[in-house]
Amino acid sequence: MNEFLLEASGLTKSYDNGRIQALRGVDLRVAAGEFLAISGPSGSGKSTLLHMLGGLDKPSSGDVLYRGRSLFHSLDLDAYRSERVGFVFQAFHLLATLTALENVQIPMFERKLSARQRQEKAEMLLIETGLGERLHHYPNELSAGERQRVAIARSLANDPEILLADEPTGNLDSENSARIMAQLSSIQAQRNMALIVVTHEEEIARRAQRGIRLSDGRVCLP
């Protein structure tokens, strides 16, 4: 059995007929249960790399292996995103028409769960993230920190092995940033998940077990 959960090799991504090179041959290995930080300046390719690890975007060349199987050639990407990966975005990306409880249930629609089971699980996750009193509030009725905690609860809906967070504290003040990062670290430790956080904040990068730094689409600090 392969010892790495994710292995990226020779990842490149170019846009505009090759005029823009977002990634220029990135190699990366992530073990199960590892907390990895990907840092670097804006435009260095951090989010592009994260999208590829999450099966949202395909590389121009290179491949990502999940437990030794090619993500883009051997696996059903929808099933991979639904069952193996959880996403947390900088802008939260909650659905405005749904309450916190309903937002958390959205990923569970792809699983064979009854409406009642979905609701119970979502309720449990929101209580776990400290939002037990805010279950039936809409995103516009929540603070930025609360919204990100709903997004974290949502990312855990299908018990993923990998949690991908793209600048999860980018829209938060320092107090909420610290709280969110503490929550992510705690969840990662409790669930023994791989947590990959993209950030340009050194403070957050230091919390990780391991960090890599990207610059101009290349890994410059392993």
Binding site: D78, R81, H93, T97, P107
Partner: protein
């Protein structure tokens, strides 16, 4: 302590379903959704009321034949605009299966510059008088310059028994006012056949003959009996058609014209409704591009996104259809309350029409939503997430 209602409690009572997600998406733009529903409702309302009206019109024609006990109408080719010599009546009367024959004339005549009406020329002993109630005056004489007015026409013209009515230069005495029969008979006038022949320069011609048959004496079904007599008449009188009453009601030119108009106008109205849904759903998909990217990132398959958008379009179609049934029923009710159309329009919608209307509404929803749904389902998750 505040006295504000706890809205979150009401929200907590609802279980989240796929349908609920679609419903919430539709309700996020309430004005646009309302306008779209209005478009669909008008389309379905037009369909229901126009088709209902044309059906009622057909039923009125059928009523003419059924109430008078007419089994066959003998005409040449088409109904309204052809003539047959009156002498054909004698040949029909001599046929073994024929019980009674009356010649008739139907003519659309301008009574005033604003009012035209169907004039019926009947012999004064015609069996077609039987369903009519002459509630004022009397039946006309055999060949007198006299006329009987339907109740609706008498009201429109402001004429009563004893008044004179000048029709195409001929002065006729109003001798009776009647009701009953079919709606357009109440909106028309009855004249002695010879008088109408002279008025319309028809000589000895008539529009056709209404025939009552003898009852079958060999255990034959009524339908088979009518068909057999029909063939006998048509073979004995080449060039003429003997048309059963029900067929005459549904295939005469007036009914066909109204039905075609109803169908055409309904199609245009339904097309407008469908375009409304297509526009709304396409706009909604465009506005929600980023949201679709989020759903894809959270593992929703293309097929689920497509189904969600199609469900939204179907809800719009179906809800619009239900409102449209109300609009159609309301329109028929208004028509049924207006004197001029009261006897033609029936303020009820047959179950079959309701089902048809809802099926059409659902279909236009699905068809209109198909392309936006297909495009929404095919959005690349990362491209959708980048969408501003």
């Amino acid at each position: 302590m505040t006295l504000e209602p706890d809205r979150s409690f009401a929200r907590s009572q609802r279980v989240m379903t796929f349908f609920r997600v679609a419903l919430k998406n539709i309700l996020r733009r309430r004005l646009r959704t309302s306008l779209t529903l209005c478009g669909v409702a008008l389309g379905i309302g037009a369909f229901v009321s126009l088709v209902g009206f044309s059906d009622s019109f057909e039923q009125q024609w059928l009523k003419v034949y059924v109430n008078s006990g007419i089994d066959l109408a003998v005409v040449r080719g088409t109904f309204l605009n052809t003539t047959i010599d009156e002498s054909v009546g004698e040949k029909l009367r001599s046929m073994a299966g024929v019980s009674e024959v009356v010649p008739i004339i139907l003519n659309l005549i301008d009574v005033t510059p604003d009012i035209n009406a169907v004039f019926y020329g009947w012999p004064n002993d015609s069996f077609e008088f039987s369903p009519l109630e002459v509630f004022e005056g009397r039946r006309f004489g055999a060949d007198q310059p006299e006329i009987m007015l339907g109740e609706v026409l008498a009201d429109s013209l402001g004429k009563r028994v004893g008044d004179d009515l000048v029709v195409q230069g001929t002065t006729l005495k109003v001798v009776g006012i009647f009701r009953g029969g079919a709606a357009f008979q109440e909106g028309g006038a009855l004249m002695p056949l010879p008088q109408l022949q002279r008025l319309a320069d028809m000589g000895t011609k008539v529009t056709g003959f209404h025939v009552r048959l003898r009852p079958p004496d060999n255990g034959e079904s009524a339908r088979d009996h009518v068909q057999r007599e029909r063939r006998l008449i048509e073979s004995a009188l080449p060039g003429l058609k003997a048309v059963p009453a029900a067929e005459m009601a549904s295939n005469n030119q007036g009914v066909v014209l109204i039905r075609s108009t109803a169908f055409g106008v309904s199609c245009i109205a339904l097309l407008m409704g469908a375009l409304g849904i297509a526009n709304t759903v396409a706009m909604s998909v465009f506005e929600r591009t980023k949201e679709i990217g989020v759903l894809r990132a959270l593992g929703w398959r293309c097929s689920r996104i497509t189904r969600l958008i199609l469900l939204e379009a179907s809800i719009l179609g179906l809800v619009g259809g239900v409102i449209g049934l109300g609009v159609g029923w309301g329109t028929l009710r208004i028509l049924a309350s207006i004197r001029a159309t009261a006897n033609v329009a029936v303020a009820s919608i047959p179950l079959l029409h309701s089902v048809e209307a809802l099926a059409i509404a659902l279909t236009i929803g699905l068809v209109a939503g198909f392309i936006p749904a297909w495009r929404g389902g095919r959005l690349s998750p990362v491209e959708a997430l980048r969408h501003e």
